[in-house]
Subunit: 286 residues, 2 copies
C-alpha cells in the first residue's frame, strides 16, 4: 500500500469526527474492523461524532445501519447535512417559519423536527439537499422565492455522487443551477464548510485543536478539517487512492490504509499514554 | 428618451440579423412599427435573418406568429438555437448518429430533421436546450453519457428566463448543473457564442463587417456581434434600459428607442445613398 503514519497525527487529539461512507462502510457493505474500532473508542472513552454530507437519510436510519453491523450508536451523535442545516436555520428563524425544502425525507424530517413549516409561497428560506425527484418546477419555484428575498441554504456542496455506472449530479450541481438562475450564492453547511464541524465540536465539547476528522475525501473531510484547525486523518478505504493523495498536494496529519490500521495506531498511542485528559503526542510509525 | 444615433452605426451595413422577442414583439404582443420595418427591408432589398436563443419553438411557428402580425417570412430565414445546434451537429456527425436531447419539441424536431436518432444509451451527443420538463433522471442520464465520452452541446447560455413573477431557470442554469456534475464545459451555439452568427452570415452570404445585429440584449445580441466584428444596433424596447446601457459600459454602434425610430434612421441613410452595393456611412442624428 505504501502508506505511512505521517508525523504526530494524533498529537493532542481527544475526540473524533468520523465520516461514514468510505470509512465505516461502502454502500451496504461494512468495512473490516468496524466493530473493533468502536469497541476501542468505547474502551478508551474517546468521544466521537459521525458526520455525513448525505442529506437524504435520518440519524436514526444510520443508527439502525450501525446496529445491523453490531455497533450501538446514539442518533444524537450522528450529524447529517440535513440535520445541520435545520439546526443552523433554527438559530436564524423561529419555529413556525415557512421554508421551501428541495430534498428527500431526511431533509424534511430534520426541518419538521425544528418546527419549520413547508410552504410554496412566502417561504423565508429555500433549503436544498440532494433530490432524486428534482423537477424544473421545483427549481423554478426556488428561483422565484430566492428572487423575492428568501434565504438560500444548501446542505452540502458535493457536485456529483458516485454510482456503479458513473457519477450522477449531487446537491452541489442543484445548487449550481439555482446560483446560475438567481445570481445568489447559497450558504452551505456540509463539509468542507465550517458549520458541520462547528456543530460536531459543540457536541463533543472540545476545541478544534483537540479533535481529529477521520475521512476518505480530501476536498470535503480533510480540507474542511485543516481550514478550521482540526487534525485531518485520511483513510484510503474510500474514494481517495495514494495516487489521488499525491496529486492533491494535500498533507493529512495521518494516512491509514483502512480502519484496522487506524485502530492499531490509536492503540499504540494509547499504550504510550494517550487519554482524553493528557492528549500526549503520538510517535510516528511506518 | 434621451437616446441618439451614435456615430456611423449603419456604415457599410448591407444585411441584418434581427433578434425577435424584445425587438419585434413582447411575448404575444407585436411591437409598434413591426410590419413597416419588414416592408422597408423588402422595399430596399436588405436581406435579413431572424435569430433567437429560444430553443423551444420551431422556425415554422415563428413564421406563423409573424404571419399573424402581417409579415410574410420564410422559415428558412429564421434561426433558433435548436436549429443552429442541429446544423452544428450535422457537420460533426452523420445522420443516424444517436443523440440524447434534453429540451422541448423545437429541439427534438430540429435534430430529427437532420437525421439524428434519439437514444438513452450509447448516445454520441448530449444536446441540452431549455426544458420545463427537466427531471433529475434526465440530468443523471446526461451526466453518465458525458462521463462516458458523449459530446456536450448546449443551445444557449441564458441563465434565466423572465416571467411576470420573476426569473426562472434558463438553459444556462441546466448547463451549469451538468457542468458541475461532470466537470465538462459544454459547447454552446446560441448568442453571444459565435456559431449562430456564423450560420446567419452564411445564409446572408455577407461578411461580418457588412452585417448588423439588431437586438435588445447587450450580453447576448450585442456582445456577440461586437466580438465577431458585426455592427451592434441596440433597441430599447426589450430588457435593456438607458440606465442598464450606461452601467454596462458597452458602446453599441447605434441605439434606438424602438423599431419606428430604427426604420426612420434606416430610411434617412437610404435617402443618402445606402444600398447593398455602396454601403455608405450614415450621418449622425439626435
Amino acid at each position: 500500500m505504501g502508506t505511512e503514519f505521517r508525523g504526530a497525527g494524533w498529537a493532542g487529539v481527544r475526540g473524533l469526527i468520523v465520516d461514514m461512507d468510505g470509512v465505516l462502510w461502502l454502500g451496504d457493505r461494512p468495512l473490516p474492523g468496524l466493530a473493533e474500532f468502536f469497541a476501542l473508542l468505547r474502551k478508551r472513552e474517546i468521544p466521537w461524532i459521525l458526520a455525513t454530507n448525505n442529506s437524504s437519510k435520518t440519524p436514526e436510519s444510520y443508527a439502525a445501519k450501525l446496529s445491523g453491523f453490531g455497533v450501538a450508536a446514539d442518533p444524537g451523535r450522528i450529524l447529517t447535512s440535513a440535520g445541520v442545516a435545520a439546526e443552523y436555520l433554527a438559530r436564524q428563524s423561529p419555529p413556525g417559519t415557512p421554508v421551501y425544502p428541495i430534498g428527500g425525507e431526511g431533509l424534511k424530517k430534520a426541518l419538521a423536527e425544528k418546527g419549520f413549516v413547508f410552504s410554496d409561497r412566502d417561504s423565508r428560506w429555500v433549503v436544498v439537499g440532494w433530490d432524486r425527484e428534482l423537477t424544473w418546477d421545483k427549481l423554478a419555484l426556488a428561483s422565484l422565492l430566492i428572487h423575492r428575498g428568501a434565504g438560500f441554504l444548501g446542505t452540502n456542496p458535493d457536485l456529483s455522487y458516485p454510482t456503479p455506472e458513473g457519477p450522477v449530479p449531487g446537491c452541489g450541481a442543484q445548487l449550481a443551477a439555482l446560483e446560475a438562475a438567481t445570481g445568489v450564492s447559497p450558504v452551505v453547511v456540509g463539509k468542507p464548510e465550517p458549520e458541520m464541524f462547528r456543530q460536531a465540536l459543540a457536541l463533543l465539547g472540545l476545541p478544534a485543536a483537540a479533535t481529529a476528522v477521520v475521512g476518505d475525501r480530501i476536498e470535503t473531510d480533510l480540507a474542511g478539517a485543516k481550514r478550521l484547525g482540526l487534525k485531518s486523518i485520511l483513510v484510503l478505504s474510500g474514494v481517495t487512492t495514494t495516487r489521488i493523495l499525491a496529486e492533491s498536494g494535500f498533507a493529512p496529519d495521518a494516512v491509514f490504509p483502512d480502519l484496522p490500521e487506524l485502530s492499531l495506531s490509536l492503540e499504540s498511542v494509547e499504550a504510550q499514554g494517550f487519554s482524553p485528559a493528557s492528549g500526549k503526542p503520538a510517535s510516528s510509525r511506518q
